[in-house]
């Protein structure tokens, strides 16, 4: 993007062409007040306080784009008058009980009222009944609401739930006299404000959304508050611990807000999780799943000795990827020293996938990240239940659809009403499981540069095409010329006279004709709609940046190796930028740091995995370990970023480093390993204490560092043909969690109370013999479990979901790698 020069308040600054004035000012530390604008979302134009003068004309800074040579003044007497009037209007009928408001101290209404110096009120209107609502996990008080619509904007443009909207307030009209006497913008803003409050789109009084709580986070006043947090603590009493969310691979920036537990208990407790909502959006698990700490751990020397003894006896360490990079490195060092086999099937699958991908692409890591995906305008997602695998990937998709006017293709066997509801410009294709290969071939066929692509692949793709003739009816517009008489003034004489004028008109006409069209068998194999070509052509209009997201279904696919190579080919020979969604929190880190094995030996030590001897951060093992919110360390995110996280609350037990020291390694602290993370895998030798964790005013992410992508030697580009014989059958189960659940840690969090069981879509349940709460036996080729049926309106279609967050369910027993399995379900 080219740079242009503008001048704000006498300061010359260079900004990107097309930047909004407000963002340009913020990036250069120039202050313009703004309430309703959310970075990354479309301007709402509700508050009008960001009024500035650009080249002598009043514009809204959040809506006007900077033009080359523009001269901007942020404050003039007229603008100051408008701002003062706007703030006075916001204070009309606003309750004065700041003392009992949760937002007090971090309230933007308080801040701007004080800053603009509102010390008297000139406006008034009769108030209406605005009593508060309990919306479930959120509490809405219309009495405090200033209808800036930030919640609505965040829900629509960022999250994609579209759960909130403005509804009628039912108030009296404003006194007519104000229109004459008030500043113009303030009156217009008040007029709109006085007509609306926030309501739910589903028509009930209880939220039915993916419960991310982002609307409450962005609320500038105390109108939307988390029900659990309400009246628990004032903002200024909370200490903010900068951290990284440890639930999924998105690695969101969060801060744990901690304070003493109570008068009698001085130990720190996490009261809530906050985020830099202008630059990062959290999901429900990140926001509400914070109290998963291992609270009752203590230093018991006997169990420590038994742990060391178990390590000495063991030949295998089994672990999950919900660990920090440092712990992964400790395990790797232990392996190097004592020859343990490191077993982590899910990270191993991802590691193998990355290696196979590198064979063709010539680099160790995928090229893109979620930020680029968000800025792209054509997105394809393959092999991931996006909303539960990585909520941030879903937000990126939604943001591209709404703000960039983008389009998207979503390939996944499970029908998902949430994804379908993201907008008109998304086509969801519910292909059969194991058809991911066909999807990737289709992408190659549609988007790859055929000239550059190896000829055998081009030939293979051509073999799917045939010609067929279809009859199409189309409406064409025909040009009809007619002569009409018109009265015109003769310029010379000045008299009116009648002139004949030829006028052409477009008249619609229906024509049916036979056309020879291209028939793509790949499209029909996937069961895609007939008019796919047209839809795609419509989607691709004015699109210039493409993004592909691939998910965990691919890594465990029986033909994963071939899929990895296909994905690499798509990235290489098409305009698509590639992002891979790591399966768990730190799968990427583990895949880069550890040498993993497949087989388990005779005696196994498990880290957060049940084994002969178990180390557990959940508190249910043989020795306690700290949970992610109790330790310092780094986590590798989907954005290839190594993010630091800090300990929010105390931990009194032993950590992995203590055991490692007893086994012959030497490091005082776990974070001493941060600088030793393998440079050859892309890490940087930087000490933990030097890692930053914040965003700058222009939205730049200054968190940890990004992994450097290493180039490796390329192999050949051969890919196997589609194995069309692969199929699973009709009754299927899929291994995926409900929204807000990822693992046993989110399950432990008190505010995340999702019921565990077999998730069946509402429509499917209606047609079946089962009902909610029925006890059923689910049997696959791999094993069986007994569980209860849970009705889920966040999925649709026939495939039932088996979650992994509940360890008691033992859902892994059903699957042998691939996330889909044919299953028989019967009542017990």
């Amino acid at each position: 993007m080219s740079k242009i020069n503008i001048n704000i308040d006498g300061k010359d600054i260079a900004v990107n062409e097309g930047d909004l004035i407000l963002n340009a000012a913020r990036a250069n530390d120039i202050y313009i007040p703004a309430i309703c604008y959310l970075t990354r979302c479309s301007p709402t134009l509700a508050c009008r306080i960001c009024l500035v003068e650009a080249d002598g004309k009043q514009v809204y800074a959040c809506n006007a784009k900077a033009k080359d040579g523009m001269n901007i003044v942020t404050s003039t007497p007229t603008i100051e008058k408008e701002r003062r009037a706007i703030m006075e209007v916001y204070d009309v009928n606003h309750p004065l009980q700041c003392g009992v408001c949760d937002q007090s101290g971090e309230c933007e209404l308080q801040n701007y009222t004080l800053e603009i110096g509102v010390d008297s009120q000139s406006y008034s209107v009769k108030d209406v009944d605005r009593s508060s609502h309990d919306w479930g996990h959120l509490h809405y008080d219309p009495g405090l609401c200033i209808v800036c619509e930030r919640c609505v904007t965040a829900c629509k443009d960022m999250i994609g739930d579209n759960s909130l909207k403005t509804i009628a307030r039912g108030a009296d009209a404003l006194d007519a006299g104000f229109k004459e006497t008030m500043p113009k913008d303030a009156y217009a803003m008040w007029n709109k404000l006085n007509k609306s409050v926030i309501g739910l789109t589903n028509g009930t009084d209880v939220l039915d959304c993916t419960s991310c709580g982002e609307c409450a986070a962005v609320c500038p006043v105390g109108a939307l508050v988390d029900t659990e947090f309400m009246y628990k603590s004032n903002a200024w009493e909370l200490t903010q611990i900068p951290a990284t969310c440890g639930h999924c691979s998105a690695g969101c920036q969060i801060s744990y807000d901690v304070k003493h537990t109570s008068i009698n208990n001085p130990e720190d407790k996490i009261y809530r999780v906050m985020n830099e909502w202008n630059y990062v959006s959290l999901c429900g698990a990140g926001r509400y799943g914070f109290d998963y700490q291992n609270a009752d751990a203590s230093k018991d020397e006997a169990s420590f000795n038994s742990a060391v003894a178990a390590f000495k006896k063991a030949d295998t360490i089994k672990f999950t990827s919900t660990i920090t990079n440092e712990e992964a490195l400790i395990l790797q060092r232990l392996k190097e020293k004592h020859g343990y086999k490191l077993v982590n099937p899910e990270a191993k699958a991802f590691q193998t996938f990355l290696k196979d991908y590198a064979q063709v692409s010539g680099k160790t890591l995928y090229g893109s990240d979620l930020k680029q995906t968000m800025n792209a305008n054509f997105i394809v997602s393959v092999g991931s239940a996006l909303k539960s695998d990585n909520p941030n990937a879903r937000y990126a998709l939604n943001n591209s659809l709404t703000v960039n006017k983008g389009a998207a293709l979503y390939f996944h066997p499970v029908k998902d009403p949430i994804i379908e509801g993201l907008g008109k410009n998304i086509l969801t294709v519910n292909h059969k499981p194991l058809q991911e290969e066909i999807v990737l071939y289709l992408l190659l066929d549609l988007f790859a540069d055929k000239k550059a692509l190896p000829s055998d692949i081009v030939d293979y793709l051509a073999s799917f095409h045939s010609k067929k003739t279809v009859t199409v009816t189309e409406t064409i517009k025909e040009k009809v010329i007619e002569i009409v008489k018109e009265k015109k003034v003769n310029k010379e004489t000045g008299e009116e006279e009648e002139v004949e004028v030829e006028k052409s008109k477009m008249v619609p006409k229906k024509v049916s004709k036979e056309v020879e069209v291209d028939d793509n068998r790949l499209v029909s194999l996937l069961g895609m709609p007939e008019n796919f070509d047209e839809t795609l052509a419509k989607f691709l209009k004015k699109k210039d940046s493409f993004s592909l997201m691939v998910g965990p279904d691919l890594y465990t696919h029986p033909n994963a190796k071939n899929l990895a190579r296909l994905v690499a080919l798509i990235e290489k020979y098409s305009a698509f930028e590639l992002t891979m969604i790591p399966t768990l929190t730190n799968s990427l880190g583990v895949a880069l740091i550890n040498e993993l094995s497949d087989e388990v030996g005779k005696y196994t030590v498990g880290y957060n995995v049940q084994a002969d001897y178990t180390l557990s951060s959940l508190g249910d093992g043989d020795i306690d370990m700290p949970a992610i919110n109790q330790q310092e360390g780094t986590l590798t995110s989907i954005n290839k970023r190594v993010n630091p996280t800090n300990a929010a609350i105390g931990y009194k037990g032993y950590v992995l480093n203590d055991i490692a020291n007893a086994l012959g390694l030497d490091a005082e602290l776990t974070v001493d390993y941060t600088q030793n993370l393998p440079v050859e895998a892309g890490f940087i030798a930087e000490a933990f204490d030097n890692l930053p964790n914040h965003y700058t005013n222009d939205g730049e992410e200054v968190r940890g560092y990004t992994l450097s992508v290493q180039s490796v030697e390329c192999g050949d580009e051969e890919v196997a043909k589609i194995d069309e014989s692969l199929s699973l059958g009709d009754d299927l189960v899929y291994m995926a969690n409900p929204v807000r659940q990822f693992n046993a840690f989110t399950n432990k969090a008190t505010q995340l109370d999702e019921e565990s069981g077999l998730y069946v879509s509402e429509e499917n349940l209606k047609d079946s013999d089962f009902k909610q709460g029925d006890k059923v036996r689910v049997k696959t080729g791999n094993g069986e479990i007994v569980t209860t049926i849970v009705s889920d309106n966040k999925i649709a279609g026939d495939i039932a979901l088996v979650p992994t967050f509940d360890a008691e369910l033992n859902s892994e027993a059903l699957f042998s790698g691939y996330r889909f399995a044919a299953a028989s379900i019967e009542k017990v």
Partner: protein, 203 residues
């Protein structure tokens, strides 16, 4: 009150006290010692004592049987006031006293009550640390926490230094209308009505 607010010292009957310069040399110091020794100032004092004793005009307060009246602005042990309208506790749990307290001796726990209102579930002041600066009373928006005149807070146990129940106006005293308003810093000043800018109402 007006007389107190007038800080103009020039024409108010103030005058400088005439104090002799201190002697700097040995001779001057010797003269001062001789003067003081033979002026008999000691006997002036003794005479005053004897005169008042004979007149039976004794100023000693027989503490603890007798106590001095305490001024309204005196800052001793805190009191928690009740609302005149409902006898309910005035404290709304805003946390300002907790925030402003410079010796960090106030703590409160709040929660949402069954009527969806903010409720103070427990409140403590550690009088062992309190320096009686009066900031809490000054900052309180509800005139709920104030200082009282109760300065006798000796105890064998620190925990006994203060109990919330002891600070709170007893309900029978409240019912009798005997709760005293605080007049120190933070209370309403006499000119408040004139200074307030009234908010227009559309009713």
């Amino acid at each position: 009150m007006e007389a107190f607010n007038n800080r103009n010292v020039a024409d108010n009957g103030y005058f400088m006290v005439d104090i002799e310069d201190y002697p700097t040399d040995g001779w001057g110091k010797f003269k001062r010692v001789v003067k003081r020794t033979f002026r008999g100032e000691l006997f002036v004092g003794l005479w005053v004592v004897m005169r008042e004793m004979l007149r039976f005009d004794i100023h000693t307060i027989q503490y603890p049987q007798e106590k001095m009246p305490i001024g309204p602005r005196y800052r001793a042990v805190h009191e928690m006031k009740r609302l005149w309208e409902s006898d309910a506790e005035r404290c709304i749990g805003c946390g300002l006293c907790e925030k402003i307290c410079i010796s960090d001796c106030i703590r409160m726990d709040t929660k949402i009550d069954e009527n969806s209102r903010k409720e103070v579930s427990s409140y403590t002041i550690n009088l062992g640390r309190c320096i009686f600066c009066g900031y809490c009373a000054e900052v309180c928006p509800e005139l709920a926490i104030t200082h009282g005149g109760e300065y006798e807070n000796g105890s064998e146990q620190r925990e006994h230094f203060i109990m919330y129940e002891d600070m709170l106006t007893p309900i029978d005293k409240m019912k009798a209308g005997a709760q005293l308003e605080f007049e120190g810093f933070g209370s309403i000043t006499p000119h408040e009505d004139a200074r307030v800018k009234k908010t227009p109402l559309a009713y």
